[in-house]
Symmetry: C2
Subunit: 428 residues, 2 copies
Amino acid sequence: MKLISQPKKTEWEALCKRPALQQEDLTKKVRQILDRVKELGDQALYEYSSLFDNAELTKLKVTKKEIAEAEQKLSEELKRAIQVAKTNIETFHKAQLMKEPAIETIKGVLCWRRSVPIEKVGLYIPGGSAPLFSTVLMLGIPAGIAGCKERILCTPCDKNSKVHPAILYAAQITGITSIYKIGGAQAIAAMAYGTATVPKVNKIFGPGNQYVTKAKELVQLDGLAIDMPAGPSEVLVIADPSGNPEFIAADLLAQAEHSADSQVVLLSDSVTMIEAVNAEIQTQLAALPRKQIAQKALENSFAVVFKNMDSCMKFSNYYAPEHLILAVKNAKQYAKQVTSAGSVFVGNYSCESAGDYASGTNHTLPTNGFAKSFSGVSTESFIKKITFQEITKKGIKDLGPDIELLAEAEQLFAHKNAVTVRLKSLKK
Amino acid sequence: MKLISQPKKTEWEALCKRPALQQEDLTKKVRQILDRVKELGDQALYEYSSLFDNAELTKLKVTKKEIAEAEQKLSEELKRAIQVAKTNIETFHKAQLMKEPAIETIKGVLCWRRSVPIEKVGLYIPGGSAPLFSTVLMLGIPAGIAGCKERILCTPCDKNSKVHPAILYAAQITGITSIYKIGGAQAIAAMAYGTATVPKVNKIFGPGNQYVTKAKELVQLDGLAIDMPAGPSEVLVIADPSGNPEFIAADLLAQAEHSADSQVVLLSDSVTMIEAVNAEIQTQLAALPRKQIAQKALENSFAVVFKNMDSCMKFSNYYAPEHLILAVKNAKQYAKQVTSAGSVFVGNYSCESAGDYASGTNHTLPTNGFAKSFSGVSTESFIKKITFQEITKKGIKDLGPDIELLAEAEQLFAHKNAVTVRLKSLKK
């Protein structure tokens, strides 16, 4: 990783800019796919499976038999590990369901909110080089806790029309209601607009390549809700001399192996530490099956040496990383200074892999600086909150005259009249 | 309002479709405005003020002197009414700030979330026919409670370069940090991209005409967060024979006076009730200053008679209204059946005007059926939640082997290695 030394504040913006993607052409291609699915429905989905996944499907929906077979194919120890992860994720996400009190703002005016599950949600799980069954857990579990009635999942199949058994197993144990062998932008289109086979949903979740991401962006313009905008995965590590270069190198590489356009950043108050981490990266890289991907990602990446921890924290908040690892003394104190990040890993033994899989936190997080305004996926992402109010005769008698004044000042006389007719009836 | 009698379920979708807007041309026009502000900054803003607001501005930012003068211009009783509304809105929105407990998912694995204010937010307040100072309260108050550091406001001025004093007063008492005399799509562009005068924000809130709405939609594609997609305002009233036709007519008209493209819907199990409301509408309409607007809106509107309350509730959830008024016996029981609505008004004395101004609930709500997947604005809209985890040596010892298994099953060996190096170090 290239080393940048004490950049001035004016240089931060350029440093924090993530590598930009080609957009024009992509939008056009994805728009075509969306329109075709909208127009032809299932027929388009079969065509795209043949074209993009080399799969000649006879059925889009995964059968009960296929799900049962999947369970047989997995080792008992993997199933047990999946269950451990599931339990921890459930524990953390159940705690997010909090009941708000009803509030009597003044006597006779009772206001409250009620959490209601979004009825139909669609989860997208990428196929490709790694079968991301962990993402099935991260989306399926909070959807279940929230109580979403219809929870469908789309994922591409391989050329033999098979979906990876771990994905099917994870979908089954999290109560996904139906699974479809559809990948890419066409899967997003199917869930956004509905086809004869795939139900139209209210909100779409899940990661994907640039086609999927663009498709999610575009269906938003048709009023579909999505979890969050997305970009390549990223980690930022802040290390002082108390950090362990071996651990830090491993954490940076774990991020770098995701994809060639991932970005990893190391901040430190010590050049010696950065050099030690760089050396460790070279050692560990050699042993990795995905070393070519990781190497490409490292080319987009950088390390920065600052005068002190305070500057490291400030730069990190400015960068707003998806994952932030605090490999520093008094990490918990520094954690309090974090104002922009998706998920934070506090101290030397809190590795990102733990949160990626099994500690309980969600791994669907804002990338690309979106942590400045977005939260990661949580149980709340599957819920909407409806406000209610119940006003008694006394309540409207007391508050009514003020409402009349306010409505009149906004020149909305019908708004005023809705109060006036009630006040008059009470005088009778 | 036209009367529809017991429509079949298959007809519901067509009935619930909101009047569609022309889009193609609008996108092009708004895109041009956004691009011009991005390129020319303040200069474009001055040009558009001249072009669209007929205002020859010499300064975009409202001065302290202008704010002080505004306060002088308002009557004491209006200021007092604004303070009453402010207090109620504060009371309800403060209760939304709930502290979540930290959760030890297993021994040695501590996970928690922390709410952090979004640093910079931009509020848009439309000008036009009514000075919507109430919206300043609805957005400014939760932004302040959340603790957003920079809270800016854009609103168009009149041809004398003046902003309505009630808007300035409401902005001042809610702690808006700066106010700019900018309207329309150009205001959204200024807040999204920043200019020499206007700071770039992280999230944009507020209602507006179709140009504003489209601009918010388009800046989303550049990664800006927005409060929610928007459409014309709407109300749905469910009335049984216990409802009061005079009240209901007033509530429907209060919605109808907003704009010609507003929609109002009345559901009942009684044709007599619908006829009585229609008669009342004619009587009340004659006295309204904005009767032409309301009349146009009524042309887009309809009443439906169903066999029973159960069907009314089902249709309402299908329609997902922005505002829902339950003018029925046992209204609180029926409130429990609501699964899609922005804000619900329970019983005969809970008029929508109360929630629009002063009861405490927010009036920035999902329209156009978006209540199926979106919540209205709340304190949470100005906050992001960051997850944290702290894992001890014991924690990683116990959980680590499962993470290794899971990472290996996803073929992500660098993820596995981040655990392995830690487990090895603990064996030493």
